[in-house]
């Protein structure tokens, strides 16, 4: 039996399954090199299946700060309770907001957007764009409002409030996505909120477990 193939030689064969030659012949007749070949395929598959990573939570704020005065001011802020106590009405407000976005989503079909740009339709589509942007900006704003960050983890009542806010956002965004299922902005918002909720719930469970150990 000649020398085994090096990993580099095996890596080259990965891209050329139809290749012929000395290396290929060796591979076909050597169980040890075949095992390494299979492991390399497994690694490659795992690499291509790596999930997306989350950008830092304050990334957008930093980008906005760097863009400075070149951007126009944000749309009207949605008033949320200043009190750290969660008000059930807030959830209803979020649902109403998404319902409004739902209407906007219905109006903004791709075919309508592709319509000829006459002055009249141009003005109508500008209005719809404005309505959509206002809705999305308000949703983003709502997500930023209320208790968040490290402070939430130190205070169970703040954590519970944040959890309820996230639940309300999830419920409402799922409702909105039923009519606009492919909207990438709404989809990513939902993804972010679900991700934050899972992380927060996990951390709350862990601290509960630690607390119960003390008793």
């Amino acid at each position: 039996m000649p020398d085994h193939l090096s990993r580099e030689q095996i890596a080259a064969l990965l891209d050329e399954p139809e290749a012929t030659g000395v290396d290929r012949e060796h591979l076909d007749g050597c169980s040890e090199c075949t095992l390494e070949y299979e492991q390399m395929i497994r690694t490659r598959m795992a690499l291509s299946a790596l999930p997306d990573l989350e950008p830092p939570v304050d990334e957008w704020e930093r980008i906005r700060a760097r863009l400075g005065d070149d951007v126009s001011p944000i749309g009207r802020r949605v008033s949320a309770p200043n009190s750290t106590r969660f008000r059930p009405l807030w959830a209803a407000a979020v649902v109403a907001l998404f319902a409004a976005g739902l209407g906007v989503g219905r109006q903004l079909s791709p075919t309508e957007d592709a319509a000829p740009d006459t002055t009249a339709s141009r003005s109508a589509s500008d209005d719809r764009t404005e309505a959509y942007l206002r809705t999305v900006a308000q949703i983003q704003e709502l997500r930023r409002e209320g208790p968040s960050g490290e402070a939430v983890l130190d205070d169970p009542s703040l954590a519970a409030e944040r959890l309820m806010r996230l639940d309300a956002l999830i419920e409402a965004s799922q409702e909105a996505l039923r009519t606009a299922p492919t909207d990438p902005v709404l989809n990513n918002l939902l993804f972010d909120v679900v991700d934050e909720r899972q992380s927060l719930a996990g951390q709350m469970n862990r601290s509960l477990r630690y607390t119960s150990v003390e008793y």
């Binding site: 690694t43 690499l47 950008p55 999305v136």
Partner: protein
């Protein structure tokens, strides 16, 4: 909502439209940047740079490709330029730290965490080609173009990178680099 309308509003400087575009693509952008540079802090910096550049250059985006494709390209270029500027040129034969497997390495369970750690430990040149080809699915022609190297160089770098990756995940025991029996 069509992306064209969002882009139009963003070009006009509407911050809400910019944030909506950011929200739709920030995960993909941060991911490719982070994988390419192999470091959390540098990735945060480069990802921000990419977005700022994108919004500054939005006027030059003609819309032949989807915004996501354009943004991905810009993010990759920003990351590669940063690595170049910082003097960390893609090395062809890097004297990287000797490969050692993570303590819990198990060939049967290739966890994403272990895989990510191994990627971070690759020399920059290897990591860039491996990420662009095996993670991002780019062709050797595209990679060669971005790195300013020959297609053959991209291929050989990839093969070395895969081998080094395997060395990190499962240190060679029964085989050595010359390919001989132990």
């Amino acid at each position: 909502m069509s992306e064209a309308r969002l882009l139009e509003a963003a070009r006009a400087g509407d911050q809400r439209a910019m944030e909506a575009l950011y929200t739709a693509h920030s995960g993909r952008v941060f991911t490719v940047v982070r994988r390419l540079v192999g470091d959390d802090h540098l990735a945060e910096d480069v990802s921000q740079d990419a977005w700022v550049r994108a919004f500054e250059k939005l006027g030059s985006f003609r819309g032949e490709a989807a915004f996501g494709t354009w943004m991905h390209r810009l993010a990759v270029n920003t990351a590669l330029n940063r690595l170049r500027r910082s003097g960390r040129r893609p090395e062809v034969e890097s004297a990287a730290e000797p490969p050692t497997a993570p303590p819990d390495a198990d060939e049967r369970i290739l966890s994403q965490r272990v895989l990510g750690q191994a990627l971070d430990r690759l020399p920059n040149g290897y990591r860039q080609v491996l990420v662009m080809h095996d993670v991002e699915g780019m062709t050797h022609e595209e990679i060669a173009d971005r790195l300013g190297v020959a297609v053959g160089t991209s291929k050989s770098q990839l093969h070395k990178a895969r081998a080094r990756m395997r060395d990190l995940l499962a240190p060679p025991m029964g085989r050595n680099e010359a390919g001989n029996h132990a």
